[in-house]
Amino acid sequence: MLFARRFSVFAISALLLSGCQTTVENKWVSANNTASSTNENSTDTAISNIPALIIDREEMYEVGRDPYAYRSIPPNSRPVSSSTEGGLWYAFDKAEDKSRTAGNLIRDDELQSYLDGIVCKLSGPYCGDIRVYIQEVPAFNATMAPNGMMSIWSGFILRAQNEAQLAAVIGHEIGHYIRRHGIQRLEDKVAKSDFGVFVTLVGAAMGVPVAGDIVGLLFAGSILSFSRDNEREADLIGIHLLAKNGYDTREAAKVWQQIISENDPDGESSSTTTFLGTHPSSAERQETLSQLANELQGEGKWGKVYQERFNAIVGPWKQRFMEDDIRLGKWDETLRLIEILEESGTPNSHIAFYRGEVYRKRGQEGDSEADEAENQKDDVDRAIAEFKKAISDNTSIANTYRSLGLSYQSKGMNAEAKRAFIAFLERVPNAKDAKMIKYMIDTMGAPIS
């Protein structure tokens, strides 16, 4: 044991020494490798109000004032390859190569240039440093990798109600990039796991076997608070970018309002969402953002939401993204989302189609919680009622007829099913499943008894 103690001094020294090396590096090379500048911080003022904002709002940090002392990344720069941050970029550059050819990447010139345009406008001098990937993922999110790879998920595009809401989230992600939250998180994690193993070993040497568990808890807690600070910082930058570019700053809080009403409609903390622990609570963010909106713009000075061009470009995608969401089979969540879309001006015929689809699919798959046979029958009837409502309007979605046909067919109402299928094929003669629908029309016999 004495031997062990003697060596523990050596081990502790070595750990502390290695800890000393993790000072923050601020070495940059020009992104196009034509020129280089090191240790210069000439462009913290590129988005000029950011440092001041952060100093003014020290109360938003859980771990103290100016806790990171990280400089913002200058525009048109990448970290030198010998740094930890350079390694992080290297890894994400490789990940980005895969994103470029990913199967769920949405390749649409109009939508792409619309979102690229918002990114460019908000990020100003960083425009060339951020690349947008639109991914078909039915969840409410957007992400920013340390190297400037931004992913916008289709589930977020579905829920955004205007351009200002898109910009609110995009501005938040730009904040993560400029403030280098990727390297902050990595270095924090390395430092804390190093500290964790150190405490565990010292604890073990002293015969304290539970040290590992305590360390684990402390570790998790400090990582989360670190992450929450990052989120607050990104929120703050995001809303300032909205104000600077003439967007209505109230829309940032509305994004959070929508997350709350979708996930936690009764105001009870729901465990179905994983982001609650690692992010400031949605309610806190909504409140802070509302307050900031009032400070930045206020009554009579609100910016724009650019509803018309948003509807023209994003509107046509919503049906596809809504159908993705319905396929998740989370009926209650989807019905709440449909309600939100209904309140925000989605055409009634579309809403009726979406509701009908949820009932139709729920009827097919059953709902384990309730009296199954009876409920399934009810669901088919509900679906048919919704589809009928939808087609009474000339704005209806063509797929409504197919779904109506399938619903009638499942009830054995073959004559009605045939009529609906024929109406569907008249509207979409080249549908992917046209052959199957034709086959069903031809072979449908007498009503199933």
Binding site: L15, L88, N141, T143, H279
Partner: protein, 250 residues
């Protein structure tokens, strides 16, 4: 999760590092379940030589070198990785020359982001098949009943697009993940050893695979999983290449 540098998005999900997570699991599994010996598998110990000359296309080397920190987290080193790719290329070409084989460096089609491109799909497919072989061929617990006593993996006949572009006979795919113990980790290893616990140091994990560009069959495959090897300097890279290319067909 040992390594997770991703930034939180606005709502709920991390961007995970694409490779490290499963690889850590794999490395652990490989070390836990099999000895660290190297053994190649192959369908034939000679290369088919339709005429005197034979050409191998060296596919882009998928390589990452990283530092293993005291607490077990990995930080990628871009400078080491980029230099090591160069050393590997040089040494692989030299190795192939000793086998009397000419080599060509594969250059991806410029800005090819078409997900339906055969070349794009082939490089993804190789990643999947290579990982599958390194698990199912080398870890007894994961041996596949349908592959007992036979080595018959293939990328399919679409590899012909590479054969045609380079007028080549074979393609060589390589994958390397190499980590190096930091001073802090070394201290942990020593301290833990005194307490009677084993703590892992840096490891070199990787595989190489030779694909017949006429049939798509993988004719030779080797895996490295060891606690030695150094790709940080050109001088020692040949040792890793020799270990990786062991039992390469004549």
């Amino acid at each position: 999760m040992l390594f997770d540098p991703g930034i939180k998005g606005v709502a709920m999900t991390f961007i995970h590092h694409k490779n490290i997570g499963p690889m850590i699991f794999l490395i652990t599994a490989v070390f836990a379940l099999s000895a660290c010996q190297t053994a190649a598998v192959y369908t034939s110990d000679i290369l088919k030589r339709p005429d005197a000359s034979i050409k191998v296309v060296v596919m882009p080397i998928d390589i990452e070198l990283s530092e293993l920190n005291a607490g077990g987290s990995l930080t990628t080193r871009a400078d080491w990785s980029e230099a090591a790719r160069g050393y590997m290329e040089t040494e692989l070409n030299a190795f192939l020359a000793t086998k009397n084989v000419s080599s060509a460096k594969y250059v991806p089609l410029t800005d090819n982001v078409d997900p339906h491109s055969k070349e794009v799909q082939l490089s993804k497919l190789f990643g999947t098949v290579g990982t599958a072989i390194s698990i199912h061929q080398y870890i007894p617990a994961y041996n596949l009943p349908t592959k007992a006593n036979q080595f018959d993996w293939s990328l399919g006949p679409d590899v012909k697009v590479i054969a045609d572009r380079y007028d080549a006979d074979y393609a060589l795919f390589t994958y390397i993940r190499d980590s190096y113990t930091t001073a802090g980790r070394a201290a942990v290893i020593i301290f833990a050893a005194i307490l009677g616990a084993g703590v892992q140091g840096g490891q070199q994990y990787g595989y190489a695979s030779l694909v017949d560009l006429r049939s798509g069959e993988i004719v030779w495959f080797n895996r490295l999983a060891r606690g030695t090897g150094d790709l940080r300097t050109g001088a020692r890279a040949s040792e890793t290449v020799d270990a990786l290319m062991i039992e390469f067909p004549k």
